[in-house]
Structure formats: structure tokens, C-alpha cells
Symmetry: D2
Subunit: 347 residues, 4 copies
């Protein structure tokens, strides 16, 4: 993600956004590695202590793309220092941590984003626009599954498998993306009935979960994530069924959206000039990559910082990061209790 | 289904199966309608009382394609009269009814099939063969959803919406197909956490359900069925992920199977001479229709009756019909209790 | 094709068509083989001399599914004897033969069909209806390719590879289907510029051809057929582009039609009650197989024989068979001359 | 293309390539427009006379993304001034012009690329690697069609419709991409039989062409391009059939490659670490956009300039641009003569 954020910030210097970011400094644990990253990715300075960045008055935006266990402390410090922040997902290691991060950011009065970059896929934004315009009618079903397969042969020493650093496995890594999209597109999740599994012997975080969910409007959905689905590379697929139509999205074909009316599905290539974000890019039919989603996300944050729309209306804000964490914890609680669990929020 | 069974029985007179069925009689409530069906579908006699058929010594196989509420009495009578039987799904209106039907059939010592015809789709049978041969390794996930959309504008007087005749809605009609395939391909289901919904105002049976399930081997899955998914006509899709590979099936493209090894998905047109059931039909690339699944199903029953393989090894037997009903009832119990429910069986 | 025609004729006894065919006799060269076919496929008598069939007054319809070299003599004799006829494609070994067959049939005043059964795929018929209704505007492009791969490992003694029996290879077998669809959907072909190739050493008929064609309305198209396209089983794909929309069809998914308006493609499952031929069959989403196309074709002929619509308005009549042969010969002439060749017709 | 080249050059400053480009100056006809472009796209200087750039000693690489009529003069001048060059396709307005451009570049001893960026799509490069490794066996067929639909409603004053500026229409714009890919993947084209059409009244360049082609190895192919194919946005699709396998590519899904062995097609997401160009980018399953093809193309040129591999082994060099132009002219000659035309080359 460090590479993707660096590239996006450079790119935003050359797009029609209200602020042109300067790449002041990048920090990391290893002196040599971080200097290489600095040099390759175009940062002015390389540091091994993020505290120097928090103290640097030139810095107005602090982006945290570190392991999950290194989200809370730097984010809180940066917010208190008055810097706008973007933190990768999941926000904190627990819902409570996430809540504290959100509260700290609110108290500081800064702009805050949690890195749910799939809100910034043009086809996802188009889905949101269709829903807001009522073109799909009332939503009655939502189903999403995020499948990868790298978990079978993965290096067991990866930080993603260490409970202390990652917090959780497929649920935190992939599941939170789906939870966020469910919330962004349909609304708040009220209850969850779920199972969570660790399949690979010796692994300490989950490989797989399934959940049946109920939204606050009473409608139902399913969520599933796995790192063990052979043949699937990055298959984040959701379907929304409304009373007047449906949409299907697949991250592996992120430039496409299948849209049904009451009869049949139409395949839309989301690259027309009037499609979300396409004013930045190419003529129709010239597709975007995954990297552009991060450009759009940071662009949205720059607009928010510039005061164009007060807050960041499409989020995902730290509040979204917190709410997502509560849903994830309800899933874990349900897996443990064998009961349908309410999602509850601190206030 | 009456039309489909009639056609299949006629067709089987001209395929390489050990018995050639004679179409003795067809029965129905309305004299005129049943005579039309007799004449068009090629039956020798038309009757308005199925008891005459039970008493008819010429009849060796009794097929019941009537509404769900008319399954139990004729089936039990036919079995007691020593006739082999095929009963459309779901078997009984309750799991208990289904159990009684199974027991009666066992006591009578006849061959019995419950009409889960999707076991007889060549691509489904090929999936089973791949699993039995270990080509997908150990199954770790199963997901299925059966989506239709006709429920939005449907005639409210249809028997399918009458609780007394249909028993349940999407769960009994579509969900049971998925439960049966899950059992046929993966194994017994141990527990279910589910929600069931009636969305359309005034409707008395369910339109939609979602379930997170656990198999006896500890692995997880999801099931969902709806009659309200806009753009979906008959979209019965399942995916099995194993430790060595995966398969994806879609009933709307029933001649295809997507098969993954540890790397990527391959699209197989299941029409090669060595593919299941294809010895009956055409050269490679000449696809089959839905109607042929009923031919294969009845052909399997004829082979069982002829003693070719003792029982009907691919079922679905009345035991399968009963076990499916227990899973469906666990889903309903879970929806009501808000708890993960065990599937239990009478013995 | 003998099996497919037999099945279709039996099936038509139980569909809503104006005549119920009786299966009088089947003939073939080998006594034993033809008796087996008779017994399995439901014919009353088996013969080794088609002349007996021509002389049989009970027979009103003569279907010829034999090798191409055995089309002309029996067809002419049957027509002269006043029998209605269906002859598999290609009609004659040459355009001239085909012309004579057509003329003989016309003189005899009987109903005649050339076996271009893809006119009777519901999605193809729907394409025709869309074109007739002007929904695609004016046709500007047509492209079709029919790809199979069995030619690589095929038995060299097959009659399909013997020039004397087959006439030609991929062109006659697959190319004629595409030529017929081009004519049926778009209109007459005026000129062709083509190459024809035999790739496999020792083979005496063509494996592959490509043609750039011009329709009489001045618009252009491409045709290609091959038996050597690895991975393709029966991939007969065409696309029609009009000023207001497009359609794409693939025989391997014969129940689907992709239809574009001026913006995007929609996937239609051609199984709705108001879709062509679906009144014979199942509820929406329950797909048909290749075999049903032959049922529809013979049903159309039965309607024509019964006088329902005078001639067979959807053909393909022997005139269509003849006209197709002229296009095929223009393709061969162009391959030999290196020039764009006019398609000309005898009169 | 100016935007795409600017972005690619900036991006290459941060990728692992042997030279880091500086963006010295950009030129254009309109003072105001070019200054906006300079400012937004990150160039140091904006000019209205390209001759100043030719005279600027700081400049080592001259990229020409102007209209086709403005390719020859600046390219020749830049080459003579010893600058390396990249010129958008088609190279010259005629094959002869293109030949002169190539010769001038050769005499100057500089590195030269013609902008066929689709050689730099990872899936296209993978196709080339599979062919070179013999995994598809001997190529027997090649078919390509490049379909767009914007021609129906396009602004008639666009330079693309002016014969003097564009040279030709769909043939020069889209057809040349296909010709280049045919040459890159299969080999030289020997002859062409073609039609070229202007369909829209009042238009002075072609909207559509079709060609049947023969490669020097005797194998056949088809090419087609149109700006009038409703529903198609940027549908550049090719298929290569070899004796041992096939591949299918679609530019609208440029991250995918369908690869057949002798049996069936496999869908490959070309985003694995060992896939071409992926070392620059993201983890598996995170797709690239069209813009990245230009990054890869310019990266290849930088490597060539740095002497990494002497010339630019993957081209497309000006020789490729010239050879492509000869094929395009053979297509036009064939359309006019009605004969199969040889492709001949100046020497």
C-alpha cells in the first residue's frame, strides 16, 4: 500500500484537484529499505521514526499504510498534531481501539479517512448513484464474497498471520471491505449469524468466515471471505437486488458493472465521460487499474481538506472504520456464541 | 413436471436402458384437463382418481408430480401396493411426513426416488465424480444460491403461495434443491444459522432465506434462495472449493462446468463422449436441455428397478428427501430462535 | 442426424402441431445396423433400399440424413413420387446438383426443406424477429465463424474427409450453416473474396476457409470455418451490427442472445413464454438443447405440409439450399482465382 | 495520447528502469492550451514551435503524439538532430512516407518506436512468450476485429474524419493496431483480399473494413475494424489458434487471457508476479489499466536508449510502422482492384 499511496499522491499533482500534494517524508523501520522506497517513490526525506513526521510542521496529511498493530498510536498523535489522516483498514485492532481513533480525530477537528478504497471504484460509485436515484427500487438482498487462494501456500511468518500484528485473518483483511461496501450501499447492519474458521493447521488467524446478516431495514444478506478458494485471485464480488433492478460487481473486472432492470442484465463498461471519476482519465473503453482507486480516494480527501464539501461525504471516515469494526466483532461473537448477535455501537 | 415426466418416459423407450416404460395411465383432478394431457402426452388412459392407479396391476412405477400437499397419501398407498415410486420434491409437507414416506417405502421394499433432478445434470454428476476421485482435494467451502425473480409479479392465487398446499415458499421450492446438492456433493449438514423472510406484502410463504451452514466435517457454507432477485430467471449457482481445486456450476448454463486446479479456472463444455450421460446423446458441443435431466433421473430409476445396481446409488432416495427436509426445518428453527440449530434425524 | 430426426418426429407426436407423424420405415446400407436403429429409435420397418420407401404409399414425408453423395438420387425420386422432403445440408455435391434438386421439388409441387436447423434455434429466430421489426436499424456488418477442433485427431477414413462423399470439408459442413444464417438474417450475398486451406497433411478436403463478403445492399461481412481451432467444440458464433443495435449469438450457449441497443449489451435468456418456440416447452430459465432445434425444424415442415402457411416461410427450402451452394462455390472460385467473385444464380 | 505519454514519463521516474526521464518541454499549436497542458501534466516548458525542441540540446527523446499529418516533418528533423523518437501510429500518411521516416531514423542511428502500445499489454506479451516457447504449436489461424461505435454520432469536424489530417479512418486508426499484432504474434502478412467502406453519408474516410489475409507461412486470418458496431466501446479482440492450443484476448478485459490447450480454455488473470511487466506493480488479482501499457512502452524505449538490449527488440520500431503501412495499403488496393493483393516492401 505504501507504493500505491505514493504513486497516487504523485499522480494527484497532475489531476484537476484543488490541492497539489508535496511528498515530504516517508518513514519505516529499516533505514536501508525506507531510503530505497524514498528514492524510488519520489519522497523528499526518509525517516525511521514517525514521531518526526508528527512534529514536522510542513506536513498536513499523514497517511498510515503500516501493519494493523501500528495504526493507533501514530494516527492519534498525528490527529492531535492537527494533521489530516488516512489510515489503512482495518482501523484499529479492536472496535474499541477504532472508536478511540475516531473520537480522537473528531476532537482534533481534522479530516480522516479509513482506507476502504473500493468506494472509489467507478463501478461501485455508479452503484451508489443508481441506488440513491432509486433506479433499483428498494434494496431487498445483498450478497458479497471476497475470495482469494494465496492462503494455501503462504509464508507462515507473514505479519498477516500473526494475531498480534494483524488482529484477525480473512475477516479483518477481506471481510471488512465487504462490510464497508454493504454499509455504503445498503445501510447499517443490525445483526449477524456467523461462523469463523481456521482451516490450515498451525495458523492462528481465521482463513474463512461466513455470515448471514440482517440490515436495519429488515432485509437480509450474506457475507463470506476466504484466503483458501482455489482459482480465485482477488474475487471481490457483490450483488444488490432491489425491487426494480439489480447490480453485480466483480473486482477482477472492476471497469464493468452488470445492471439489471426488471428483466435482464446489461453489461456496462464504466468508462464513459459521465461515469464517476472518468473526467480524470481516458476515452470510453480505455479501462482503469486497481491503482487508480487509490488516486480517487486520496483525491476525495484532498477535496475535503480544501473544504470543497466540508467533510468527506463518501468517507470512508474513521466513523465508518469504527462501525465496520463493530460488525466484524459481532461476527466473531456470533461464531463463538452460536447465536444471532446484535451490532451495537458506543456513543 | 407432468409434461416433463411424460416426455422423459417416452424418450426412455428409445434409449439404452434396461426397461422400456409403457405409459399406462395419468390422473388428475379435472376430467377435461387430464384427458387433454393424456392425449397430448401419449398416455393410454386418463383417470381422476389415483386410487385406480394404485389398484392397477399393470402399473409398476408410480410418479407423483402433484402439489406438495398431495404427495403423502398417494405415495404411501402406491408403496404399500408394491409399486416403485418417484415423488417430486419436497417429499412431505414436514420432515416428519417425509420420514414416514421414507419408512413406508422401505417397509414396502420398493425403489423410491425424490425428484431432485439436478443430480442428473451431466455437469453436476461430473462434479461428483471429480470429488470422489479426489481431484479437488478436501472440500473446504460450499456456497450456493438459487435466484429467480418471478415472485414480484406472480399471481397470488398460485398454489405455490398457499401455505397449506406448498408448505413453504422459496425455501421448499428452491432451497431444497440446494440442500440436496450440498448433501450429494459435500456431505451431511450439521448446523445452520439462518434468516427467512416474506418480503411481498400479503404473501403467506417465504420469498427469501439466507443460511450459514456447517458440515459434519467442520467446513462451512452458505445457502440462499429468492424469488425476488431482479434479472435472475433460474440462476441456481453453486461453487465448491477444495484444497486442490474448485468447481462452479450455473443451471442457466447447465452444459458447462468451470473447473479450477490450484491456479485458474477452465471452462468445460460437458458434452464429450466420456462425460456423464452423454452416451445417450449427441456429438461434442451439441448441448442438452433441462428436460434431459428428467430423462436421466427416470433412467436411473429404471436401472434400479431392473436390478442393475441394487438400489438407486445416486438417489435422491426418499431418505435423501427426508434428510433434506430436516435441514430445511433446522433453517426455519434457526430463523425463529436466532440460534445456530443442529440438524437432527429420526431413527 | 438419423437419431436426431427420429427423436424429433416422435416428439412431434406430442406437441401442438397440426400433423402427428407415424414412423413408417428407416433405411440404411447395413441390415444389422439398420435393424438396431429401427428397434431403438421406434420405426415400424427397417429396409436396405430407399427405393422401397419411395414406392411406399403410406409415406408422405421423406427425410434424408445420409452422406452428401446420397442426397440427390433419393431426393429426386421421392419428390417425383409426390412425397414431401427434408434433406440434410449441403443439398447437392455441387450448386448445379442443388439447383436440379430444387427444380425437381418445385415441379413435383411438394414441400421441401434443406436441413439448416439453426434457423430454428429460438435465439436465432428472435434475431430474425428483431431485424424484421427494425429494432436493430439497418444492418451494416455481419460476422460469423464456426470453429471446431476435432479435425486434428480425426479418423482419416471418415466419410467427411472423402471428397467423393462429402464434396468439401469445413466449407460444406460448417460454412454452409453460416452462409445460410447470413442469408436468412441479412440478405443475399453479392460477392466473396476468400481463401480455402487444407492444413493437415494427406487430407483431401478443406480444413479451413476465410471469406470477406459483400451483401447485395453493399454492406460487408466475414465468414470463417475451421475444424482445427483448439479449445473450440462447436463454436458457431455470429454478430450482426445495425445502425440502432447489435446481436451476438453462440451455438454453445444457444439459449442466450446478447442484444445491444445504441449503448450496451444485454444478456437475454431466450426462454420466456413469448420467445419463439417456447410455447412447446418449459417455464422461464429452463433451457433447451440442440436436439430441440430439429424438433422445431420438422414441426415447421409439418405445418407447411398441413397447409398452415402455404409454403415453409422460414425455410430453409431447397431454393435456400441451392443459393447457399452458389455462395460456397463463389468462395471456392475466389480462393482459386485470387479475385473477388460474384455470386450468380441459375434461372 | 499527450496526456497518456506525459503520465507515463512521470511514472517511469519511479519505476525500476535504467533512465529517469525529465519532462523538458511540450509543444502545441495553441499558446493557451499548451500552457494548461504543461502546467497540469508536469512539463517544465511550453512551446508553440516543435523546432525549438529539435534544437534543444537537453532533449534526448522526442515523442510525437500529434495528428497523423504532423508526424513526418518533426520526426525526421528530430532524428536528424540525433534524438531518439517515439511516433504515434500510423507512422506516416502513406507507406512511402513511413518508409522515409524509417530510413531517416536508421541513418541517424537513433532508437525509434512507433506507438503500437498493445504490444505492451501484459496479456499480449504473454501470448508472444507462449508462441515463442512453442506452447501453442504451429499457428494455423489468426482472427482479429477491433470494434467501436462512436462513429455514428461523432462530430464531423474531428480531425480523425479529415482525409488530409488522418490519412484514413477505421483502417488507419484501429486496423493498424490489428495488423501490428498479427505481425508481432504470427509473422509477416503476404497477401490480402479486402473491402473498405464508408457507411455514414458525407464522411470522407472509411468507417469499416474487412480483410481475409494470408501469412507468409501459408496460414490464413481475418481482420476487421469498425467505428459503427453498436454496443462495442473498444473491443479489440484477437484469437490465435495453433496446432497445440489457442489464446483469446479482449482489450476491454486487458488483464485476462484465455488460453486453451488441446481440450479447453482456461481464464488467466495476467497479474501474477512472473507475468510480463507485473514486477512494476501490484499483488496478484490487482488489475492494471490501459494507461499502464504506455508506461511499459516508454519503459522499453528507455531501456533501449540505455543500451540494455541494443535495439528495441519488441519494437514496434519504425520498420514495424512501415511494414504495417504496406499491409494497410495492400488492403486498400485490394478493395479497389477486387483482387488478392501482395504486400510488397521497399528495399
Amino acid at each position: 500500500m505504501g507504493k500505491a499511496h505514493s504513486r497516487a499522491l504523485r499522480e494527484l499533482r497532475h489531476l484537476d484537484v484543488p490541492l497539489r500534494p508535496e511528498l515530504v517524508s516517508i518513514s519505516g523501520r529499516n533505514t536501508e529499505t525506507i531510503e530505497q522506497a524514498r528514492s524510488l517513490w519520489g519522497w523528499a526525506h526518509a525517516l525511521t521514526d514517525w514521531r518526526e513526521q508528527v512534529a514536522d510542521e510542513r506536513i498536513g496529511l499523514f497517511v498510515n499504510a503500516g501493519p494493523n498493530a501500528l495504526h493507533a498510536e501514530p494516527m492519534n498523535a498525528a490527529a492531535r498534531a492537527g494533521k489530516h489522516v488516512l489510515c489503512e483498514k482495518p482501523l484499529g485492532l479492536t472496535a474499541h481501539d477504532s472508536y478511540e481513533l475516531w473520537q480522537e480525530a473528531e476532537r482534533a477537528g481534522i479530516r480522516h479517512l479509513c482506507g476502504f478504497n473500493y468506494r472509489f471504484v467507478p463501478a461501485v460509485r455508479l452503484t451508489r448513484e443508481l441506488l440513491e436515484a432509486g433506479e433499483l427500487g428498494e434494496v431487498v438482498h445483498f450478497r458479497a464474497r471476497y475470495l482469494q487462494s494465496w492462503g494455501w501456500e503462504a509464508d507462515p511468518t507473514l505479519w498477516r498471520f500473526a494475531p498480534g500484528e494483524a488482529g484477525s485473518g480473512a475477516l479483518g483483511d477481506l471481510g471488512t471491505h465487504m462490510i464497508d461496501l454493504a454499509r455504503y450501499l445498503v445501510g447499517e447492519i443490525a445483526t449477524a449469524s456467523a461462523f469463523v474458521r481456521t482451516v490450515v493447521p498451525g495458523r492462528e488467524v481465521d482463513d474463512h468466515f461466513v455470515a448471514a446478516i440482517e440490515f436495519e431495514n429488515g432485509m437480509l444478506g450474506t457475507l463470506e471471505a476466504s484466503r483458501l478458494a482455489r482459482g480465485r485471485k482477488n474475487s471481490n464480488v457483490f450483488e444488490v437486488n432491489g425491487s426494480q433492478g439489480s447490480v453485480v460487481f466483480d473486482l477482477e473486472r472492476l471497469n464493468e458493472l452488470e445492471i439489471a432492470d426488471t428483466e435482464s442484465f446489461r453489461r456496462i463498461l464504466v468508462t464513459e465521460p459521465d461515469h464517476p471519476f472518468m473526467r480524470y482519465w481516458w476515452p470510453p473503453g480505455h479501462i482503469l487499474g486497481w491503482g487508480e482507486t487509490v488516486v480517487h480516494e486520496l483525491g476525495h480527501l484532498l477535496e475535503a481538506i480544501a473544504g470543497e464539501h466540508g467533510v468527506a461525504p463518501h468517507g470512508a471516515t474513521f466513523e465508518d472504520g469504527y462501525r465496520c469494526a463493530e460488525v466484524a466483532e459481532a461476527i466473531v461473537r456470533s461464531a463463538e456464541s452460536g447465536r444471532r448477535e446484535q451490532v451495537t455501537y458506543q456513543s
